[in-house]
Protein backbone atom coordinates (compact mmCIF):
# COMPACT_ATOMS: atom_id res chain seq x y z
CA UNK A 1 0.00 0.00 0.00
CA UNK A 2 2.79 2.40 0.90
CA UNK A 3 4.56 1.84 -2.47
CA UNK A 4 1.33 2.82 -4.22
CA UNK A 5 1.10 6.09 -2.35
CA UNK A 6 4.83 6.79 -2.69
CA UNK A 7 4.67 6.26 -6.47
CA UNK A 8 1.71 8.54 -7.00
CA UNK A 9 3.21 11.24 -4.76
CA UNK A 10 6.56 11.16 -6.57
CA UNK A 11 4.85 11.36 -9.98
CA UNK A 12 2.63 14.25 -8.87
CA UNK A 13 5.71 16.01 -7.47
CA UNK A 14 7.67 15.57 -10.72
CA UNK A 15 4.83 16.90 -12.88
CA UNK A 16 4.28 19.81 -10.49
CA UNK A 17 8.00 20.64 -10.66
CA UNK A 18 7.84 20.75 -14.47
CA UNK A 19 4.74 22.97 -14.44
CA UNK A 20 6.44 25.28 -11.91
CA UNK A 21 9.47 25.56 -14.20
CA UNK A 22 7.22 26.41 -17.13
CA UNK A 23 5.32 29.12 -15.23
CA UNK A 24 8.66 30.56 -14.04
CA UNK A 25 9.83 30.77 -17.67
CA UNK A 26 6.49 32.34 -18.62
CA UNK A 27 6.93 35.06 -16.00
CA UNK A 28 10.43 35.70 -17.37
CA UNK A 29 9.07 36.06 -20.91
CA UNK A 30 6.42 38.53 -19.75
CA UNK A 31 9.12 40.56 -17.96
CA UNK A 32 11.26 40.63 -21.12
CA UNK A 33 8.22 41.68 -23.13
CA UNK A 34 7.67 44.55 -20.73
CA UNK A 35 11.35 45.46 -21.07
CA UNK A 36 10.80 45.78 -24.80
CA UNK A 37 8.17 48.46 -23.99
CA UNK A 38 5.54 46.07 -25.33
CA UNK A 39 2.22 46.51 -23.56
CA UNK A 40 1.07 42.92 -23.09
CA UNK A 41 -2.05 42.72 -25.15
CA UNK A 42 -2.67 45.40 -27.72
CA UNK A 43 0.39 46.89 -29.39
CA UNK A 44 2.41 43.66 -29.19
CA UNK A 45 0.73 42.53 -32.38
CA UNK A 46 1.50 45.61 -34.51
CA UNK A 47 5.04 46.09 -33.16
CA UNK A 48 6.28 42.67 -34.12
CA UNK A 49 3.97 42.59 -37.13
CA UNK A 50 3.38 38.93 -36.37
CA UNK B 1 32.89 6.93 -62.59
CA UNK B 2 34.30 10.31 -61.71
CA UNK B 3 32.85 10.48 -58.21
CA UNK B 4 34.36 7.12 -57.17
CA UNK B 5 37.85 8.48 -57.87
CA UNK B 6 37.17 11.58 -55.80
CA UNK B 7 36.05 9.32 -52.95
CA UNK B 8 39.27 7.32 -53.38
CA UNK B 9 41.28 10.53 -53.15
CA UNK B 10 39.56 11.62 -49.94
CA UNK B 11 40.34 8.23 -48.38
CA UNK B 12 43.95 8.53 -49.67
CA UNK B 13 44.21 12.01 -48.13
CA UNK B 14 42.87 10.83 -44.75
CA UNK B 15 45.11 7.78 -44.62
CA UNK B 16 48.26 9.66 -45.66
CA UNK B 17 47.73 12.53 -43.22
CA UNK B 18 46.86 10.01 -40.49
CA UNK B 19 50.01 7.99 -41.28
CA UNK B 20 52.14 11.12 -41.06
CA UNK B 21 50.50 12.69 -38.03
CA UNK B 22 49.96 9.42 -36.16
CA UNK B 23 47.35 11.20 -34.12
CA UNK B 24 44.19 9.08 -33.95
CA UNK B 25 45.12 5.45 -34.56
CA UNK B 26 47.92 4.99 -31.98
CA UNK B 27 45.79 6.51 -29.22
CA UNK B 28 42.91 4.26 -30.20
CA UNK B 29 45.04 1.11 -30.27
CA UNK B 30 46.61 1.99 -26.92
CA UNK B 31 43.19 2.48 -25.30
CA UNK B 32 41.95 -0.80 -26.81
CA UNK B 33 44.96 -2.74 -25.53
CA UNK B 34 44.86 -1.26 -22.03
CA UNK B 35 41.11 -1.83 -21.66
CA UNK B 36 41.39 -5.42 -22.87
CA UNK B 37 44.25 -6.07 -20.46
CA UNK B 38 42.24 -4.73 -17.54
CA UNK B 39 39.20 -6.77 -18.49
CA UNK B 40 41.10 -10.00 -19.03
CA UNK B 41 43.03 -9.62 -15.77
CA UNK B 42 39.76 -9.50 -13.88
CA UNK B 43 38.28 -12.32 -15.97
CA UNK B 44 39.95 -15.30 -14.30
CA UNK B 45 38.18 -14.39 -11.08
CA UNK B 46 34.82 -14.85 -12.84
CA UNK B 47 35.36 -18.46 -13.90
CA UNK B 48 32.23 -20.08 -15.28
CA UNK B 49 30.37 -17.41 -17.28
CA UNK B 50 33.67 -16.33 -18.81
CA UNK B 51 32.60 -16.19 -22.42
CA UNK B 52 29.60 -13.94 -21.71
CA UNK B 53 31.68 -11.48 -19.72
CA UNK B 54 34.42 -11.55 -22.36
CA UNK B 55 32.05 -10.91 -25.26
CA UNK B 56 30.51 -7.74 -23.85
CA UNK B 57 33.92 -6.45 -22.81
CA UNK B 58 35.44 -6.91 -26.27
CA UNK B 59 32.69 -4.90 -27.89
CA UNK B 60 32.66 -2.13 -25.29
CA UNK B 61 36.44 -1.75 -25.62
CA UNK B 62 36.04 -1.59 -29.42
CA UNK B 63 33.25 0.97 -29.19
CA UNK B 64 34.96 3.40 -26.83
CA UNK B 65 38.37 3.36 -28.47
CA UNK B 66 36.67 3.55 -31.87
CA UNK B 67 34.89 6.71 -30.76
CA UNK B 68 38.25 8.15 -29.71
CA UNK B 69 39.69 7.72 -33.19
CA UNK B 70 36.48 9.03 -34.80
CA UNK B 71 36.60 12.12 -32.63
CA UNK B 72 40.25 12.78 -33.47
CA UNK B 73 39.76 12.27 -37.22
CA UNK B 74 36.92 14.82 -37.37
CA UNK B 75 38.67 17.30 -35.11
CA UNK B 76 41.73 17.08 -37.39
CA UNK B 77 39.44 17.86 -40.33
CA UNK B 78 38.30 21.12 -38.76
CA UNK B 79 41.75 22.63 -38.42
CA UNK B 80 42.81 25.40 -40.83
CA UNK B 81 39.32 25.69 -42.30
CA UNK B 82 39.79 22.58 -44.46
CA UNK B 83 36.24 21.41 -43.75
CA UNK B 84 34.79 24.43 -45.57
CA UNK B 85 37.18 23.82 -48.47
CA UNK B 86 36.15 20.15 -48.65
CA UNK B 87 32.48 21.12 -48.70
CA UNK B 88 33.06 23.63 -51.49
CA UNK B 89 34.56 21.11 -53.89
CA UNK B 90 32.10 20.12 -56.62
CA UNK B 91 31.26 16.71 -55.14
CA UNK B 92 28.05 15.47 -53.58
CA UNK B 93 28.26 15.27 -49.75
CA UNK B 94 27.39 11.56 -49.95
CA UNK B 95 30.90 10.85 -51.23
CA UNK B 96 32.43 12.70 -48.30
CA UNK B 97 30.31 10.56 -45.97
CA UNK B 98 31.22 7.30 -47.73
CA UNK B 99 34.92 8.21 -47.78
CA UNK B 100 34.86 9.03 -44.08
CA UNK B 101 32.95 5.80 -43.45
CA UNK B 102 35.59 3.74 -45.27
CA UNK B 103 38.40 5.35 -43.28
CA UNK B 104 36.58 4.66 -40.00
CA UNK B 105 35.76 1.09 -40.98
CA UNK B 106 39.46 0.52 -41.73
CA UNK B 107 40.45 2.09 -38.40
CA UNK B 108 37.96 -0.02 -36.44
CA UNK B 109 39.01 -3.11 -38.42
CA UNK B 110 42.62 -2.69 -37.32
CA UNK B 111 41.46 -2.10 -33.76
CA UNK B 112 39.26 -5.20 -33.80
CA UNK B 113 42.11 -7.34 -35.11
CA UNK B 114 44.32 -6.17 -32.23
CA UNK B 115 41.64 -6.61 -29.57
CA UNK B 116 40.52 -10.05 -30.78
CA UNK B 117 44.13 -11.30 -31.00
CA UNK B 118 44.80 -10.00 -27.50
CA UNK B 119 41.72 -11.76 -26.16
CA UNK B 120 42.73 -15.05 -27.72
CA UNK B 121 46.21 -14.76 -26.21
CA UNK B 122 45.18 -13.50 -22.78
CA UNK B 123 41.98 -15.42 -22.05
CA UNK B 124 42.64 -18.54 -24.25
CA UNK B 125 39.18 -18.27 -25.79
CA UNK B 126 38.60 -20.62 -28.81
CA UNK B 127 37.80 -17.80 -31.28
CA UNK B 128 40.15 -19.13 -33.91
CA UNK B 129 38.37 -22.37 -34.68
CA UNK B 130 35.60 -20.39 -36.51
CA UNK B 131 37.72 -17.71 -38.24
CA UNK B 132 35.20 -16.86 -40.97
CA UNK B 133 32.28 -16.43 -38.60
CA UNK B 134 34.33 -14.16 -36.35
CA UNK B 135 35.45 -12.11 -39.38
CA UNK B 136 31.85 -11.72 -40.60
CA UNK B 137 30.66 -10.80 -37.11
CA UNK B 138 33.48 -8.27 -36.65
CA UNK B 139 32.84 -6.66 -40.05
CA UNK B 140 29.07 -6.23 -39.50
CA UNK B 141 29.53 -4.84 -35.99
CA UNK B 142 32.26 -2.55 -37.27
CA UNK B 143 30.02 -1.28 -40.10
CA UNK B 144 27.13 -0.56 -37.70
CA UNK B 145 29.26 1.41 -35.24
CA UNK B 146 31.09 3.38 -37.96
CA UNK B 147 27.91 4.24 -39.88
CA UNK B 148 26.32 5.93 -36.87
CA UNK B 149 29.61 7.37 -35.62
CA UNK B 150 30.54 8.92 -38.96
CA UNK B 151 27.12 10.48 -39.45
CA UNK B 152 27.11 12.03 -35.98
CA UNK B 153 30.78 12.97 -36.28
CA UNK B 154 30.34 14.92 -39.52
CA UNK B 155 27.31 16.69 -38.03
CA UNK B 156 28.34 17.34 -34.48
CA UNK B 157 31.94 18.38 -34.75
CA UNK B 158 31.10 21.56 -36.58
CA UNK B 159 31.46 23.54 -33.36
CA UNK B 160 34.04 22.97 -30.70
CA UNK B 161 32.10 22.20 -27.60
CA UNK B 162 29.98 19.41 -29.04
CA UNK B 163 32.94 17.20 -30.02
CA UNK B 164 33.18 15.29 -26.70
CA UNK B 165 29.47 14.55 -26.94
CA UNK B 166 30.08 12.10 -29.80
CA UNK B 167 30.48 8.92 -27.71
CA UNK B 168 27.62 9.95 -25.45
CA UNK B 169 25.30 10.44 -28.41
CA UNK B 170 26.32 7.30 -30.29
CA UNK B 171 26.01 4.80 -27.42
CA UNK B 172 22.20 4.73 -27.07
CA UNK B 173 21.82 4.55 -30.83
CA UNK B 174 24.01 1.50 -31.31
CA UNK B 175 22.81 -0.54 -28.32
CA UNK B 176 21.33 -3.18 -30.68
CA UNK B 177 24.80 -3.62 -32.23
CA UNK B 178 26.50 -4.03 -28.87
CA UNK B 179 23.83 -6.49 -27.66
CA UNK B 180 23.72 -8.52 -30.88
CA UNK B 181 27.50 -8.55 -31.41
CA UNK B 182 28.31 -9.62 -27.87
CA UNK B 183 25.65 -12.36 -27.98
CA UNK B 184 27.06 -13.62 -31.30
CA UNK B 185 30.61 -13.51 -29.92
CA UNK B 186 29.50 -15.48 -26.85
CA UNK B 187 27.93 -18.13 -29.10
CA UNK B 188 31.14 -18.36 -31.15
CA UNK B 189 33.14 -18.73 -27.91
CA UNK B 190 30.85 -21.58 -26.84
CA UNK B 191 31.36 -23.02 -30.31
CA UNK B 192 27.65 -23.25 -31.22
CA UNK B 193 27.20 -21.68 -34.67
CA UNK B 194 23.50 -22.51 -34.87
CA UNK B 195 20.23 -20.85 -35.93
CA UNK B 196 20.36 -18.43 -33.03
CA UNK B 197 23.80 -17.21 -34.09
CA UNK B 198 22.57 -16.54 -37.63
CA UNK B 199 19.60 -14.65 -36.18
CA UNK B 200 21.96 -12.26 -34.35
CA UNK B 201 24.06 -11.88 -37.51
CA UNK B 202 20.85 -11.07 -39.40
CA UNK B 203 20.05 -8.33 -36.92
CA UNK B 204 23.59 -6.91 -37.25
CA UNK B 205 23.27 -6.95 -41.05
CA UNK B 206 19.87 -5.20 -40.92
CA UNK B 207 21.29 -2.57 -38.55
CA UNK B 208 24.32 -1.90 -40.77
CA UNK B 209 22.22 -1.64 -43.95
CA UNK B 210 19.57 0.59 -42.34
CA UNK B 211 22.07 3.03 -40.86
CA UNK B 212 24.34 3.28 -43.88
CA UNK B 213 21.32 4.14 -46.06
CA UNK B 214 20.06 6.56 -43.38
CA UNK B 215 23.48 8.21 -43.47
CA UNK B 216 23.46 8.44 -47.25
CA UNK B 217 19.96 9.93 -47.31
CA UNK B 218 20.40 12.37 -44.44
CA UNK B 219 23.96 13.60 -44.99
CA UNK B 220 23.09 16.26 -47.57
CA UNK B 221 20.60 17.87 -45.20
CA UNK B 222 23.11 17.96 -42.40
CA UNK B 223 26.42 18.92 -43.85
CA UNK B 224 26.15 22.69 -44.14
CA UNK B 225 27.53 24.55 -41.17
Amino acid sequence: MTTLIVTYVICAFAVALYILRMSGLQRQILKRMAAQQLPLQSSAAEKSGD
Amino acid sequence: MQTATTMYWIVWKDLVSEYRARQAWPAMLMLGVVVTFLFSAQLDAVGESQSRMLAIQIWLAIFFSGMLSLNRSFAAERVEGCWDALRLYPIHPVWIYLAKLTVNVLALGVLQAVVFMLCIVLCNVPLLNHPWQVALLALLGNLGISAVGTLLGSVCCSDRQSAPLLAFMTLPLITPVIVAASEATRLVCDGSIGAEWWRWIGLLAVFAVVFVTAGIVLIEFLIED
Partner: protein, 195 residues
Protein backbone atom coordinates in the same frame (compact mmCIF):
# COMPACT_ATOMS: atom_id res chain seq x y z
CA UNK C 1 35.42 46.89 -47.62
CA UNK C 2 34.87 47.56 -43.92
CA UNK C 3 36.57 47.20 -40.58
CA UNK C 4 36.66 44.09 -38.42
CA UNK C 5 33.36 42.48 -37.55
CA UNK C 6 31.43 44.36 -40.21
CA UNK C 7 30.25 41.06 -41.71
CA UNK C 8 32.62 40.78 -44.67
CA UNK C 9 33.55 37.17 -44.01
CA UNK C 10 29.97 36.14 -43.31
CA UNK C 11 28.89 37.76 -46.57
CA UNK C 12 31.57 35.76 -48.43
CA UNK C 13 30.54 32.55 -46.71
CA UNK C 14 26.90 33.18 -47.64
CA UNK C 15 27.93 33.89 -51.23
CA UNK C 16 29.88 30.61 -51.29
CA UNK C 17 26.88 28.74 -49.89
CA UNK C 18 28.58 27.60 -46.70
CA UNK C 19 26.62 29.81 -44.32
CA UNK C 20 22.83 29.91 -44.18
CA UNK C 21 21.17 33.24 -44.88
CA UNK C 22 18.59 34.27 -42.27
CA UNK C 23 16.42 36.07 -44.80
CA UNK C 24 16.37 36.51 -48.54
CA UNK C 25 17.96 34.25 -51.13
CA UNK C 26 21.27 34.07 -52.98
CA UNK C 27 20.83 32.78 -56.52
CA UNK C 28 23.50 31.88 -59.07
CA UNK C 29 21.95 31.58 -62.53
CA UNK C 30 18.68 30.94 -60.73
CA UNK C 31 20.02 28.27 -58.34
CA UNK C 32 20.97 28.63 -54.66
CA UNK C 33 24.71 28.63 -54.00
CA UNK C 34 25.44 25.04 -52.96
CA UNK C 35 22.78 23.41 -55.15
CA UNK C 36 24.65 21.40 -57.77
CA UNK C 37 28.26 20.25 -58.19
CA UNK C 38 28.57 21.98 -61.60
CA UNK C 39 27.63 25.27 -59.94
CA UNK C 40 30.25 24.90 -57.22
CA UNK C 41 32.90 24.08 -59.83
CA UNK C 42 32.49 27.62 -61.14
CA UNK C 43 33.31 28.95 -57.66
CA UNK C 44 36.72 29.24 -55.97
CA UNK C 45 37.14 30.39 -52.38
CA UNK C 46 40.32 31.52 -50.64
CA UNK C 47 39.50 31.91 -46.96
CA UNK C 48 41.35 33.74 -44.22
CA UNK C 49 42.83 30.49 -42.92
CA UNK C 50 45.29 28.67 -45.16
CA UNK C 51 42.92 25.74 -45.93
CA UNK C 52 45.89 23.41 -46.42
CA UNK C 53 46.14 20.02 -44.77
CA UNK C 54 49.02 20.32 -42.27
CA UNK C 55 50.30 16.78 -42.88
CA UNK C 56 50.27 16.81 -46.69
CA UNK C 57 53.11 18.38 -48.64
CA UNK C 58 52.37 21.45 -50.79
CA UNK C 59 52.34 19.37 -53.94
CA UNK C 60 49.97 16.81 -52.41
CA UNK C 61 47.66 19.58 -51.19
CA UNK C 62 47.43 21.09 -54.68
CA UNK C 63 47.11 17.61 -56.26
CA UNK C 64 44.26 16.83 -53.90
CA UNK C 65 42.50 20.11 -54.77
CA UNK C 66 43.03 19.44 -58.51
CA UNK C 67 41.66 15.90 -58.24
CA UNK C 68 38.68 17.03 -56.18
CA UNK C 69 37.73 19.56 -58.82
CA UNK C 70 38.45 17.03 -61.61
CA UNK C 71 41.01 19.17 -63.46
CA UNK C 72 42.18 17.61 -66.77
CA UNK C 73 45.91 16.85 -66.27
CA UNK C 74 46.32 17.46 -62.53
CA UNK C 75 50.06 16.75 -62.41
CA UNK C 76 51.28 19.45 -64.77
CA UNK C 77 48.55 21.89 -63.68
CA UNK C 78 50.05 21.66 -60.19
CA UNK C 79 53.63 22.03 -61.40
CA UNK C 80 52.91 25.13 -63.49
CA UNK C 81 50.95 26.72 -60.61
CA UNK C 82 53.94 26.01 -58.35
CA UNK C 83 56.12 27.77 -60.96
CA UNK C 84 53.68 30.64 -61.04
CA UNK C 85 53.82 31.21 -57.26
CA UNK C 86 57.58 30.58 -57.30
CA UNK C 87 57.53 27.78 -54.72
CA UNK C 88 58.47 24.81 -56.88
CA UNK C 89 61.56 24.40 -54.68
CA UNK C 90 59.31 23.80 -51.66
CA UNK C 91 57.07 21.27 -53.43
CA UNK C 92 57.80 18.50 -50.93
CA UNK C 93 57.80 20.56 -47.75
CA UNK C 94 54.86 20.71 -45.32
CA UNK C 95 52.75 23.88 -44.94
CA UNK C 96 54.03 24.18 -41.38
CA UNK C 97 57.62 24.56 -42.57
CA UNK C 98 57.10 27.57 -44.88
CA UNK C 99 56.40 31.22 -44.00
CA UNK C 100 52.91 32.69 -43.73
CA UNK C 101 53.35 34.69 -46.95
CA UNK C 102 54.24 31.55 -48.92
CA UNK C 103 51.34 29.65 -47.33
CA UNK C 104 49.04 32.47 -48.44
CA UNK C 105 50.31 32.06 -52.04
CA UNK C 106 49.73 28.29 -51.95
CA UNK C 107 46.19 28.74 -50.61
CA UNK C 108 45.48 31.25 -53.40
CA UNK C 109 46.82 28.70 -55.89
CA UNK C 110 44.60 26.01 -54.29
CA UNK C 111 41.54 28.19 -54.76
CA UNK C 112 42.30 29.00 -58.40
CA UNK C 113 43.61 25.66 -59.65
CA UNK C 114 40.33 24.70 -61.35
CA UNK C 115 39.97 28.13 -63.10
CA UNK C 116 36.70 29.12 -61.37
CA UNK C 117 34.48 31.73 -63.07
CA UNK C 118 34.11 33.59 -59.73
CA UNK C 119 36.85 33.84 -57.10
CA UNK C 120 35.97 34.79 -53.51
CA UNK C 121 38.94 35.96 -51.43
CA UNK C 122 38.86 36.82 -47.75
CA UNK C 123 41.47 39.48 -47.02
CA UNK C 124 44.07 38.10 -49.45
CA UNK C 125 46.48 41.01 -48.86
CA UNK C 126 46.74 40.56 -45.08
CA UNK C 127 50.04 39.03 -43.94
CA UNK C 128 51.78 39.47 -47.30
CA UNK C 129 55.04 41.39 -47.59
CA UNK C 130 55.26 44.15 -50.22
CA UNK C 131 56.73 41.82 -52.84
CA UNK C 132 53.87 39.36 -52.16
CA UNK C 133 51.28 42.13 -52.43
CA UNK C 134 52.65 43.22 -55.79
CA UNK C 135 52.54 39.62 -56.99
CA UNK C 136 48.92 39.27 -55.83
CA UNK C 137 47.90 42.56 -57.46
CA UNK C 138 49.39 41.34 -60.78
CA UNK C 139 47.63 37.99 -60.38
CA UNK C 140 44.26 39.68 -59.77
CA UNK C 141 44.68 41.91 -62.80
CA UNK C 142 45.72 38.96 -64.99
CA UNK C 143 42.62 37.03 -63.80
CA UNK C 144 40.47 40.01 -64.74
CA UNK C 145 41.90 39.82 -68.27
CA UNK C 146 40.74 36.18 -68.51
CA UNK C 147 37.33 37.65 -67.42
CA UNK C 148 37.20 35.68 -64.18
CA UNK C 149 35.28 37.91 -61.78
CA UNK C 150 36.86 38.38 -58.33
CA UNK C 151 35.24 39.48 -55.08
CA UNK C 152 37.71 40.12 -52.27
CA UNK C 153 37.53 41.81 -48.88
CA UNK C 154 40.19 44.18 -47.57
CA UNK C 155 40.86 46.83 -44.95
CA UNK C 156 42.75 49.63 -46.64
CA UNK C 157 41.72 51.71 -49.61
CA UNK C 158 44.98 51.31 -51.54
CA UNK C 159 44.20 47.75 -52.61
CA UNK C 160 40.55 48.55 -53.25
CA UNK C 161 41.60 51.29 -55.66
CA UNK C 162 44.27 49.41 -57.56
CA UNK C 163 42.49 46.12 -58.22
CA UNK C 164 38.73 46.69 -58.26
CA UNK C 165 35.99 48.28 -60.34
CA UNK C 166 33.26 48.48 -57.70
CA UNK C 167 33.50 48.89 -53.91
CA UNK C 168 30.91 48.04 -51.27
CA UNK C 169 31.42 49.53 -47.81
CA UNK C 170 30.03 47.47 -44.92
CA UNK C 171 29.41 48.59 -41.35
CA UNK C 172 28.03 46.33 -38.59
CA UNK C 173 26.59 43.98 -41.15
CA UNK C 174 24.77 46.73 -43.03
CA UNK C 175 25.60 47.98 -46.52
CA UNK C 176 26.70 51.57 -46.01
CA UNK C 177 27.70 52.71 -49.50
CA UNK C 178 28.15 51.46 -53.05
CA UNK C 179 30.80 53.42 -54.97
CA UNK C 180 33.69 53.05 -57.44
CA UNK C 181 37.38 53.41 -56.55
CA UNK C 182 37.85 56.90 -58.05
CA UNK C 183 34.97 58.31 -55.98
CA UNK C 184 36.55 56.84 -52.87
CA UNK C 185 39.63 58.96 -53.37
CA UNK C 186 38.19 62.42 -52.99
CA UNK C 187 36.20 61.81 -49.79
CA UNK C 188 38.48 59.49 -47.70
CA UNK C 189 37.84 61.54 -44.53
CA UNK C 190 34.06 61.44 -44.76
CA UNK C 191 34.25 57.82 -45.82
CA UNK C 192 36.60 57.00 -42.94
CA UNK C 193 34.51 58.91 -40.50
CA UNK C 194 31.38 57.11 -41.71
CA UNK C 195 33.09 53.69 -41.88
Amino acid sequence: MGDNGSGKTTLLRCLAGIAQTDAGELLWHGEPAGASPELSRMLGMVAHESQLYPNLTLQENLLFAARMTRVRQPANQVSDWLERIGLSAFANSLPGEISHGMRRRVSVARGLIHKPRLVLMDEPFSGLDTEGQIWLAELLNSLQLQHQSICFTTHDIKHAQTCSDRVLVLKNGLLLKKSCPTLLENDPHKHHQAA
